[in-house]
Each structure stands twice: as structure tokens, then as C-alpha cells.
Amino acid sequence: MTSTLKPVPWALHLTVLAIAVVFPFVFPSSFMVNFGVMALFYAFIGQSWNISGGFAGQLSFGHVAFFGVGAYASTIMQLRFGWSPWLGLPVSALAGALVGGVIAVLSFRAGLKGSYFALITLAFAEVLRIVTNSVSFTGGGLGLLIPMKASATNFQFAERIGFYFVILMLAALSVALAEWLRRSRFGAQLAAIRENEDSAKALGINVFREKVKVMLISGAISGMGGCFFAQYFLYIDPLVVFGVDKSVEMLLVSMIGGAGTVYGPLVGALLLASISDITRVLTQVQGLSLVLYGSLLVVIIAYLPNGLIDLFKRRRKPAGGQA
């Protein structure tokens, strides 16, 4: 995965952004805009997983912990303290970063890596799910319903296109962050840690500090994803925002698209959103989209370890010689 340090050309960034901006005007139907929102939403939370799981190689099975905490933080501030949901975005970022930091400090202090780290993140997410399910402050198992008051000042839009541009902005920022990781010293240190922690240490990298840092960033992004999710669906409950399924979706989007690449999560998210919309419209068979997704994960691990994004790169190789 040495390619992660090569910057993506500006022309590609601008093209992707231009396509994303005109998309809802070319396909203005509610169905298509919803498709765009979901694809960008998955690209955004997938990027959060990618930053710690792909760039830094810390495989997490419990990213939903940060996502759920963000969703609850912004919703509770809004419902119980009357804060504007727009303030919910920074609040949820802080909450997600806080949980990410705490989990990181505890687990990395204990020296957990690989599958042990995957398992402990899963367990932390379970603890949070059980707690929110059991205390009345969070509405317990019934969840929290955000009253509908559609206005832009209220982070609720009568037209889906409003949500589309909010999530597009967030996703674009997350791509910018990933691109910065490719170019920065911090990103290079993360790549060193991912490839071999011991040699990274020998090179003088403070492995513990860099890993905690990356979990803070990743947690913050996931938290904001939770805030957006709550505002878009106006309802959250412990199973939806702390369930294993969403952790797995974040991982899948990133792994299938290409872990440790800037556009991997977007590619994976477009595929996930398309597969789930197409199978729903055409067949109405429960679970079919996940069957396809599970198989795709196995195939990708076996034959395309850098994800689908490799398909695009391979084609260019012969023309450009050394790629």
C-alpha cells in the first residue's frame, strides 16, 4: 500500500467536486437526491473509518461508538437544552473525539493491536448501546424523536437538496483531510505505523501519540456523521446508532472502495448506495444487497487488497510506465 503517499491530482478533485455539485440539478427527483445524500453520507462516515483503519492501520469494529455518541450529543443538546442543531455539529465532533481519545488511550496503553483492538472497540460500542438503552436521560430503548420544524436555521430542510449540500460539504472536507494525510508528515508517520509499528518506533515516531491523535480525528468525523444522521432522519435509538451493523458498513465502504486511499470510501459508498437502491427497487428481497456486499468483501480481500480503486489505477499503468 505504498501508493497512499502519492497525492491525487488537483484536476481529479475538481472534476469529482463539479460532478457532485451539478448532480442534484441534473437528477432533481427526490429518489435520486436521496441516493446522493446516502452515498455521500456513507462516504463521509467511511472516510472516518478509513482515516484510522486505512491510513493508520488500526482495524476498528466499533466505530459506531463515536457515531452514536455524536448523534446523541447533538440531539440531547437540542431537545433538552434548546441548542441550535447547527451547534450540534461541533458538539458532536467534540463528543466523538472525546470517546475516540478515551478508547484510544486505554487500548493503546494496554498495547492492543490487530484483532484485539477490533474486539475492544466492538465491546466499547456495546457498552454505550446498553447504557443509552437503559437510562432515561437518553430516552432509553424508545429513542429520541426530533420534532419536525423545517427551516434552514433549524438544520432541517423542506427539500432534500439542502441536506445534500450539507453532506457534500462535510464529505468534501473529509476528502481534503485524507488528501492532507497523504501529503503531510503526520500521514507519513501513520503509514509507517501501519506498515510496521516496531520499525516506526525505531525511526523515532511516537507511535502511541500519533495513534491517539488519529483516533481523535476519526472520532470527531464519525461524531459529525451521527449529528447529520439524526437531523436527516429526525429519529435515533440505541440499536440504530450504536448497532454493530453501522460499524460494519463503515468498514465495508472503506475496505471495498480501497482502504488508505483518498477516494476509496466514496467509491465504496457509491457502490453500497447503488446496490441497496437497485436491489430494493428491483427485487424487494430482504438481505440481497448485503449478500452482494459480503461476497464483494471476500473477493476484494483475496484479489484486490487495495480495493476497487485499484481497477482504475491498473489501466493507467502500461501507458505511464512506472506508476
Binding site: 498495547g111 475492544i120 465491546a123 457498552v127 446498553i130 447504557v131 461476497s295 468483501l297
Partner: protein
């Protein structure tokens, strides 16, 4: 609190622990040898439970008798799955195996959802409701049987690993892959055999669980995190650990429910899991690495 209630909670917890031990024994074997977490463990259990369900409803095979079919079938299935898919596709990288078993579990669970729909199914056999008086409480006979077999199964696996040539070869591979290869052990075959035995124990577990539990495509979720907890707590690769860990987890769940209520009571298992990972990741009986 009333001593009768405490005694009942203890018995309940131990019986629950027996169920968890059953599911965890194969997981700990697979972990101990391959050093990978078999994320597909829950979905494999689900498959085996559907097997037992259909053997009874279509062919009238008693669930306990079904063991004669399910254990070898699951062994062959596990052996073939490792040889044909997991071992081949992971290119020998541990993290890849983790993700491949995750992909397999998503795949299998959702195929099951398409075929069987989401509903839970139960079976009824003549002895389902037979109660045995045990101290202050009445215990269903099938639960007692599953408890006894769980202990016997772990003892048998332990003996097999200690006393037979194959068991010795498996332990050699678990401890020192390269060295085992150098003395002429076919490491890849041992991996496949271990995975097969791991799934064979699930075949037995399914036969014992079916009379006391239900089956649905997502039944694996009920057991999978708990089984990981038992394995990590007991020490990966230790059968004594699977028994002791299973009992501790069963008691935690039973007493957690008693003191903290249905919902918050589940937190005990996850907390034990986190604490043991943070403080002693080798578990109670695992070899320190």
C-alpha cells in the same frame, strides 16, 4: 436478598454458562491454533441449528440423535471451507482472515435471511418440558444435559489435544508454525483440521441448544460477542478456560439481570471483556505471549 433467589440465580447462571462454553470451545480451538478470530462463528452455529431444525421437522430425527449427522457434516464443511476459501483467499495474512470471516458471516446470514425469512423457529420434543428438581429450583432436563455435555466435550477436546498424535501436531503448529513445518507437519492441513474440529463442536452445540433455544438467521449475534468474551477471559486456546470463562460469564449475566435489571444487566459481559483485554489479554489460563 433471599437465599433461594440467589441459589436459583447461581444455578441459572451456571446452566447459561454451559451453553456459552459449548459455543466457545470451538472458537478457542480455532483461535489457539490459527491465531485468528473466527468472525463467522455465530453464523456457522446458525447454519448448524437450521440443520438440526430441518432434520427434525422434515425427517423426524431427534435433535440429540442428529449429532451423529451434524458433527461429521460440520467437520467436513469446516475443513473444506478453510481449504477452499479462508486459507486460500487470505494469502496468509491474519488480518485478512479476520475480514474474510466477517465477509462470510455477512454473506451467510443474509442468504439465510433470504431463504428462511426473519422469524424465529423453535422445536418441541417430548422431553422439552421435563423438569428436574435441583435444590430450590426446577431446571429443564435439556438444559442440564447441555451443561453436562459441555463439560464432557471440553474434557474430551483437552484429552484429544494432550494424548493423540494429531492433537500433538495441532499443538505444535499452534506454538511454532515454522518449527512444525520443519519437522514435517503439513501446517496448512492442520489449520484446516482445526477449523473443521472447531465447526464440528458447533454441530454438537447446535444439537444441544435446539431443544432449549430458538433459531433465526441472526441467532449468531446472541452468541458471538459472548463467545469472544468467554474465549478471551478463559485464555485463547484453553479448554479449561472455556469452561471457567463460560461459568463466569453465565453467572455475570444471571446476577447482572438480578441486580441491574433486564436492560442494564447485559453490561457486565461487555465490561468483563474490556477489563480482561486491558489488564490481562492472555486471559485466566492462556499462555502469556
Amino acid at each position: 436478598m433471599d437465599p433461594t433467589i440467589l441459589a436459583a440465580a447461581t444455578i441459572n447462571g451456571l446452566l447459561l454458562g454451559g451453553m456459552y462454553t459449548l459455543v466457545a470451545s470451538g472458537l478457542t480451538l480455532i483461535y489457539g491454533v490459527l491465531h485468528i478470530i473466527n468472525f463467522a462463528h455465530g453464523s456457522m452455529l446458525m447454519l448448524a441449528m437450521f440443520g438440526v431444525f430441518y432434520l427434525l421437522t422434515k425427517f423426524g430425527v431427534d435433535p440429540y440423535l442428529a449429532m451423529v449427522v451434524m458433527v461429521p457434516v460440520m467437520y467436513v464443511f469446516g475443513y473444506a471451507l478453510y481449504k477452499g476459501v479462508i486459507g486460500k483467499l487470505s494469502n496468509g495474512k491474519d488480518e485478512n482472515i479476520l475480514l474474510i470471516t466477517l465477509g462470510l458471516s455477512i454473506l451467510i446470514e443474509n442468504v439465510a435471511l433470504m431463504l428462511f425469512k426473519g422469524d424465529s423457529r423453535t422445536i418441541s420434543v417430548s422431553y422439552s418440558d421435563r423438569m428436574i428438581e435441583l435444590g430450590p429450583t426446577l431446571v429443564p432436563l435439556p438444559k442440564l444435559i447441555s451443561f453436562a455435555v459441555a463439560l464432557a466435550l471440553c474434557a474430551a477436546l483437552g484429552l484429544f489435544m494432550q494424548r493423540t498424535d494429531l492433537g500433538r501436531a495441532i499443538r505444535a503448529v499452534a506454538k511454532e508454525r515454522v518449527g512444525a513445518r520443519l519437522v514435517g507437519i503439513d501446517v496448512d492441513r492442520i489449520f484446516a483440521i482445526s477449523y473443521g474440529i472447531g465447526l464440528a463442536t458447533l454441530g454438537a452445540a447446535a444439537c444441544l441448544l435446539m431443544p432449549i433455544f430458538y433459531v433465526s438467521p441472526t441467532i449468531g449475534h446472541v452468541f458471538v460477542l459472548v463467545a469472544f468474551t468467554v474465549v478471551v477471559l478463559g485464555g485463547m486456546g484453553s479448554f479449561l478456560g472455556a469452561v471457567v470463562g463460560g461459568m463466569i460469564v453465565g453467572l455475570t449475566e444471571s446476577f447482572g439481570g438480578l441486580y441491574l435489571g433486564e436492560s442494564l444487566g447485559q453490561i457486565g459481559i461487555s465490561l468483563i471483556f474490556i477489563l480482561i483485554l486491558l489488564l490481562r489479554p492472555s486471559g485466566l489460563f492462556g499462555a502469556r505471549q
